[in-house]
Subunit: 391 residues, 4 copies
């Protein structure tokens, strides 16, 4: 047996998220980066390959060439899956090309540029029977798994209310726009129809759906470009309805000055409530009607199997964002290994890895909130938004 072999598209010098993907893929020692097309500028791709100790022969000038060349390598040598960390608008064509060339795909979020693309991507995945994952990182935390399981087994009773928020402050400053990280996010050509909701609001929505085990069915959104002159939203609030009947509020902001990366969720049911803060990720607070609140912590033996499976260190040795990210990669690598003996076909969804349904739900959420807000803050049905996109 060998490590699972990964190729990378994007993630050249200066790209933040490329480094994160690589670190996440490395931690557990189950994945080896074997090739890459790191930049559309060949010299930058070469530079990145060298910094990553890759042989020159496996550093490509384009993803098209990479897929072609790798497909010709012996099976035990060639890339088994590709990780896509390019700007958003390129995710879809690269993913389609990879699938068509026979490679599994791990894609940075959002999986596609438009809702329609994500529906087409689903068709391609189903046709090829290859594996697909999208890095909704925050569901990789062991305590998020624990929260999900506890809701699923009814500890909180029937879910009635969900409050989820994702607040940042770094886009409050119009001068910060010049930065590489900021400039593409506020540009409709690169980011798509939304900045704040597309970048982080969708994470909040995914987290809420994951923990409650229930999809958002309707939204009424109030988006704004708070910093003058912006074409896309940098702040927004959304009223929610869930499939299970629960109501909710989602707040996302990139202009809440002083906030770092404050993703927080509270879920209430008829029997109890839970609270989780991404910035303090190893703690889950459970609240009860008639007994003391409990502080559930990562690393304890009382946790469910899934939480324990996604944890590396004993209680009190904090794991963080990179480990949550690594959980996605390692769980994905297990599925890839299984395809080695399974004639290449993957079983989806992969346990512990957000997949194409999360991707579609996310794109539909973005489409719906942007439309709801533009139409005067009216209720929109997510399923209708998806149905429209399918036509």
């Amino acid at each position: 047996m060998s490590k699972v072999r990964m190729g990378l598209v994007g993630g050249g010098p200066g790209a933040f998220i490329g480094d994160v993907h690589r670190m996440a893929a490395r931690i557990d020692g189950e994945i080896e980066l074997v090739c890459g097309a790191f930049s559309s500028q060949p010299e930058k791709s070469t530079e990145a390959g060298r910094a990553l100790y890759l042989p020159t022969s496996r550093v490509y000038e384009s993803y098209i060439k990479m897929f072609e060349a790798e497909a010709k390598l012996p099976a035990e040598e060639r890339m088994e899956f590709v990780a896509i960390v390019t700007p958003n608008h390129l995710h879809y064509p690269i993913a389609i090309a990879a699938l068509e060339a026979g490679f599994h795909v791990m894609c940075e979020k959002p999986a596609t540029f438009t809702l329609q693309e994500s529906l087409l991507l689903k068709a391609a995945i189903e046709k090829t029977s290859l594996l697909f994952g999208v890095t909704h990182t925050y569901t990789g935390y062991p305590i998020v798994h624990e929260a999900r399981e506890r809701v699923a087994r009814g500890d909180l009773g029937k879910i009635t209310k969900v409050l989820v928020e994702y607040n940042q402050g770094w886009l409050a400053d119009s001068e910060a726009e010049a930065s590489k990280q900021a400039s593409w996010r506020i540009d409709p050509k690169q980011a798509g129809i939304s900045c704040c909701m597309g970048d982080i609001g969708v994470h909040a929505a995914n987290l809420a759906e994951t923990i409650t085990g229930s999809n958002i069915t309707r939204v009424l959104a109030d988006l704004a470009a708070v910093v003058p002159g912006r074409q896309l939203d940098d702040d927004g609030s959304v009223l929610l309805r869930f499939e299970n009947g629960a109501r909710g509020v989602l707040v996302a902001s990139q202009i809440s000055v002083g906030e770092e990366n404050n993703l927080t969720i509270r879920v209430y049911g008829t029997k109890g409530g839970l609270e989780w803060h991404q910035m303090n990720p190893n703690t889950l607070t459970l609240k009860w009607a008639d007994k003391p609140a409990e502080t559930v912590r990562a690393g304890w033996g009382y946790l469910g199997n899934t939480a324990q499976h996604n944890t590396r260190t004993p209680a009190g040795h904090p794991e963080g964002y990179l480990e949550a990210f690594a959980n996605l990669y390692t769980n994905f690598s297990v599925a890839v290994k299984q395809t080695r003996t399974n004639k290449g076909n993957g079983i989806t969804p992969i346990e512990g890895v957000p997949g194409i349904e999360d991707a579609i739900n996310g794109m539909a959420f973005i489409q719906a909130v942007v439309t709801s807000s533009a139409d005067g803050n009216v209720w929109l049905d997510i399923n209708k938004v998806i149905a429209n996109a399918q036509q």
Copy 2:
């Protein structure tokens, strides 16, 4: 000089808030309870009077008799102001009767049962030139004053976003409805048009307006009776617009199981943000774009005069809810004393005491959110709601 003499209407045996008013009025030793009509049942009023060490002669069977009798007592002996702690629907007639009999009024929130009543009450106050206060307790905390002052002097820049929430869980249990505290709140005849928004949502709105120094101008509300069978809301979310252009979200709930009395506000401006939690009331967190967050604490010399004036103990000796409440009473008593030499006429608004404008804004907020939600979650203009009520 003597203590300021207070009479009480309501607050008989078993009433929670009556005790709170009395404790608040006592702490600073500036107010003496001299008489009361504690219950509509005379024997209960008598019982309460005895427990409070009042002479039988000053315990009345009705507020009407109390106002009559007290008005006839010598000036240096008779009640100077009345505190009203009856069920909501009685606030208005008692307040009007008190004013007409020449007594200043301190009223439990909400000041009236309807928006129209609060407008009429304002007219009565203006006509009599007597003092009026309403116990929006939470603005009595010294740190709330500090927050207000810092926003007012521009520390946070232009305010862009307000998140305020007031979550409780005690009404989640339908069986709890039998309790005295619950039963009147969910009964339209006693509580008015709203349970959750009228009881606590309005506190959140008042807190947001107080700290930002800016009124809520528009609302889009999504209220619900989550516990089946209820006639009034027990949960709700409201999108907000403020006079200063800021956007916001207000969440209030009495079915968020496990929540105690979680009133929390976050305000963001172009330069910084602030965060305050009522359950940890002596701490104000200030957040900045490019330097460490600061933890402002009650009792320090660096605080503004108002915060210091409303504090009794050194830093680290926590003051709480009763002290916040006491600040309203003590500030009110100072104003009452001033009227002794000022021919009875009060100057309003009283510094450090919410007044009739807060009361009107609160009633308009309740009216607006109930209407917005009933009309299908549409935007309503608060000023139009007030204008309609005035017709």
Copy 3:
């Protein structure tokens, strides 16, 4: 029935703790301040009496005159107990004079200036059968009662370890010494043999003994005058042994810059641990070996009777330092009332009020740590220290 009638010695203009005692005595409306000798300077005493709305006839120029005069008043009018809030060195003579004049005594901590005095005071109390309380305020918090009860009923198993600390920073600045609050504390003539340990270390010791239900039996102390030139300790650490076999550490400091009034205790037993922070007084954290930590909160129905008896408001309406202080006064007033029908004799100890045994233990602790430190950081037996003082 009438309110319990209190006289005050000390607490004139500018005295911090006098105000605190008065507020504490007022909150529950069970105690009336009827007289006082507020200062050794008659005009200051008069000024204080006027500010407190006392009749001139009940404002005295000395405690001796007060006790004489009050004793001659009709029983239903005269002071029933005296509260002593003078500088430390006067506590003992005043308390003795009060007892001899037939008055119950509530005394600011430390009850006496020396250990010997506290032993003599005990004899006087026993001889007169009058009530005595000392304001170890911090044990007045409802959550401290809850902690004590839970330890007593064995929830934590056999107690093995106690960590208690009381850290302040305000005496770090030598310039602050000029303040009224600081100057007497660092002066051996007024403060006694210790500054930091006498002022706050003793509170920490009392808290540990109260919660564990076990006395400190041995100490090894390391005291220091960190600010140059001081005659008394402003910082210290003490190794502890308890009667029940537990070990512990007590840290107290007045030079820990930035600390407000950080009294914190952690107690561990064979089955579990507890943690309490005075600055967040309504929360008790319980820690377990194999299940999630629990957050026990004031105001909930699951609390024991004592905690509930010492609480005024529902959960989430924070009570603080003044309410903890008030619990001592109100519990004391109940005992005083009982003596009205019990021919003046009190039953001690009074439930919920630290008494003469606490006072003696406190004085012995101070004596022992000062001696241990001066003798080169050696173990001292508290009982021997007491035995020595009795000779």
Copy 4:
């Protein structure tokens, strides 16, 4: 350029810390595990090698064979440094053998079994001019670097007081002793002269010395075997003196039920104080005499270069224990790379990596506290303890 090549001694199946070292070495992609002698049982070593995807030829049955064989490999292929993760008593002979064979050494803490060994190890390091690091992991956190730098530049003034504690609860249960993790720690043959102080107390001491930049010079210790029947300490408290004149207290415990891995430090100086909790590692609280406390957070631009250099993700994306550990490895790998062009000789100490002086200080601390406690809780001079060991 190639990755730095690491060999591993120890870390076979079931070993906790071996996994941690491997994950730490992987994260940044600068180190490649090329060989190992994972267990004294050859089949276990083989099993571990296979699980780690190593070629059979590089999996050895003993460290002696590994050093021999690797030394014969071509320079560009052979192991450059060895990481030692065996039980404590083997650290020294392995380290010596590695140095003698020309390999740099990264050693799990404690570096040696006795103080004398650590002094001999220092001599060997100096003689060979090879690199040596010891994994006092907790100083790898970026915020610990920040704390150290701020103390060094005088932000807190002259340091006066240090409170450091490291509390765990997992050894409270005597039944837990059967576990692999517990059994060797409480066995003098494998753990050495101390359990609690050797395992975790020494981390606390190292943290205090690192942040203050000042060595502990004297100790007075009170150790105990709280669980009956143990030969080694499972709990202890130590009074401290530092080279810079500061006083302190160190508490370490493995029987504090419910505590996870609670390493906490507070340092006070004449101008301010700081507080850091390992379980919330990305936050440093700074406290001041006359202005609000500040919350310094990892990932912000206002941090010093060292903190930024040791951080991978933006603020609010929590890094944890593995990343702190990885900082040691990555900083070590940079130094190893430098020796490639520097004829094999390393420059020590390595910036960002605890070295032999930390190791010696740690061993001297353990020796001193055990002796102080055994001798009746007396002061011991650390330098004398070292001098004795050198004879």
